[in-house]
Symmetry: C2
Subunit: 397 residues, 2 copies
């Protein structure tokens, strides 16, 4: 039951069925994205007729995907419009394996994180064990959620490269996984469709839907953890590449420097902008982001300052490259990269300016991410949801 993540595949010809499916899909997408939206808003946004929207919403309600409620707030003139809400009974599970923990959550179609479980792991735990544990936690959550549920599937955020077609983890350097058929393994245990994606791509999607890149159609997202991952949205569409391995923004070479990154490449951003170098320079052991940030801002030593500034310069040059390539509207920095930006905003922007073409960088906004650590759990659930939204009438059979 391995399935591709839903891409907006539009066959060339368009027939009646396709229209109906598209419109159902459009309405459900609006409901899902807004959490709660009035019929009249749907009418406005889609451009369809009132009666058509009425019909579409009724069909979605019959499918058990949305529910209609009378508005509670009294605002505006005229008859109040009915509010359409994503059903709380339609849920997806999300799974997020990381270096030293595993997180599993249940998320409702309305976008609410219903339940969450976290388990600590030894670094280097095998995929086998992680999959088993994920399956166990999913069963546990399923039990806790009650009976009347429609379960859409499982979304997994992987810190590494994923083959989207069949959910194989090609390489997750920090986890030490190579060619792990994660989706297949987990599907056999939970008997649900499992979708995988790269964590940074999901982070990008989440920031675009709910965070710092909301309402932008051309976004660059950079996440700094143990390595540096990236996500790109152009013209409102997530960049994936021919086989799903695009957006390796951390592995872009910007220098002749001979040090190498986690994947053995030289002179890349990831090899020059390293969280562990900061941790080491600050003589810390802890790996908590906020602790690191506080220590960084409190520290006054020249050597630390030089290191940070060097990282800022490299990151700024990398951003300039992305700007020349993508001409984005907004660049969102997440993880420890946020600290670098906060540390000396002007310096980073200067490096960006120096390396980019005037026209390309015009109007570019650089800002820090808004969403916290639950980001990825909500975003991963988006994978099965988007498959559902793609084909609302048929997906749940």
């Amino acid at each position: 039951m391995v399935r591709k993540p839903a891409t907006d595949q539009q066959s060339i010809g368009r027939n009646r069925e396709a229209v109906r499916q598209h419109n159902l899909s459009a309405v459900l997408r609006l409901v899902h994205q807004h959490g709660e939206i009035s019929r009249s808003q749907i009418t406005q946004i889609t451009g369809l007729n009132r009666s058509t929207i009425s019909d579409l919403v009724e069909e979605l309600a019959n499918l058990g995907l949305v529910s209609e409620n009378e508005s509670t707030t009294r605002e505006g003139i005229g008859r109040p419009s009915l509010l359409v809400t994503g059903s709380e009974n339609v849920v997806a599970f999300s799974v997020h394996p990381e270096l030293d923990f595993l997180a599993v959550a249940a998320v409702s179609l309305a976008g609410k994180l219903l339940l969450e479980e976290r388990v600590a792991f030894q670094p280097g735990t095998s995929a086998q064990v992680v999959v088993r544990e994920a399956a166990r936690l999913i069963q546990k959550l399923k039990g806790a959620l009650g009976k009347d549920l429609k379960i859409v599937g499982v979304g997994v955020a992987i810190p590494g490269q994923v083959r989207l077609e069949d959910g194989v983890v090609r390489l997750a350097p920090h986890l030490g996984w190579v060619e792990v058929p994660f989706a297949k393994m987990l599907e056999q245990l939970v008997n649900l469709p499992v979708f995988l994606d790269n964590d940074a791509s999901l982070g990008c999607m989440a920031e675009r839907l709910y965070g710092a890149a909301r309402n932008f159609d051309d976004v660059i997202y950079l996440f700094g953890g143990s390595g540096i991952g990236g996500g790109v949205v152009t013209a409102g569409v997530q960049l994936r590449g021919s086989t799903g391995y695009a957006c390796e923004l951390g592995h872009v070479r910007v220098s002749d420097f001979a040090g190498s990154d986690y994947s053995g490449l030289q002179g890349t951003v990831e090899s020059l902008v390293r969280r562990e170098d900061l941790v080491k320079a600050l003589k810390l052991k802890t790996v908590d982001d906020s602790t690191l940030e506080n220590a960084l801002l409190a520290n006054r030593s020249a050597s630390v300052k030089a290191l940070v500034e060097q990282q800022i310069d490299v990151l700024g040059a990398a951003l300039a490259n992305y700007v020349n390539i993508f001409n984005p509207q907004v660049i969102v920095l997440a993880g420890f990269l946020s600290m670098l930006f906060y540390y000396d905003q002007e310096r980073m922007l200067l490096a960006l300016r120096q390396g980019s073409l005037a026209a390309s960088r015009e109007g570019v906004i650089v800002r820090n991410a808004e969403l916290g650590k639950n980001l990825l759990l909500v975003a991963a659930a988006e994978l099965p949801f988007s498959a559902l939204i793609q084909a609302p009438a048929t997906y749940l059979l």
Copy 2:
């Protein structure tokens, strides 16, 4: 009458009109791309019913956009299908200003280059003069083409950055143009809608439609002339960026080298892989591509070899960056970059391998461009044609 180049803007809701327009558009696009295509092929590709296709083709024929002819070749079993051809009476003009010449052509909807005019110019000629000359040549071609014409518009290939919305040339370093409202200027003289685009983007589009990247949906195109320009297609869509200045692949920094490129950026591909360095090293004056290639391959001096190999290494590293970022299916090298690839294919591929992630580069094909110097004239005509194809029923009023 300035217009945006057509982007596949689909409003969220889909009504009957939109369906009809989309299907008309899809059929016309197929006819245009294939030049000549049978009804049954259209039926297969679109997935629509025979009778629907019949209806759609009839409507397009009534609009004067296509014509139907009986097949001349006798192939296959069953009743032979009617061939649908783009009308020869529907034409677009294309304009290509370069450093030392101006080319203007008339291209039919069937994709045939009907007529062409070339005029030599002094480098540094003002935009005013170029526009006037372009208008004169367009009028001349119009006169030569006869009476029964439907003229779709004018497409212009600019060697520089273009604001797509209103056709302003922001910066064309080799021409010495800054902030030139080229589209507006030309429209006032010829009274036709004028569309501008970057030359490398158009080259990319042309190679994808008719050349080395045919049938690929994830393409990177690099053109080496006096500078280096790029074009990118991802998931079948041309990358444009938020305001149209994306794909400046030549201005991507890959080194700490302090030399700067035409736009003053340091360590970029364009600053390290320079055609004029090759010309100088070979002690040539001529700037013809084939002469340069012959001289390069004939030369045996160690210093030239070192220079070429250095350029190959830099270009390979840049390609590796693009591969990590875009995960393409094919990389197409055009202009003098073709020579570098031809000179030592293995060396360039080695550099690519060394700088890219294994998964990202899997299956990537590197090849030279196929289309010659008329490439851009045909591609530029694509701009007004794609506006027509976007709205076949209404575009010509």
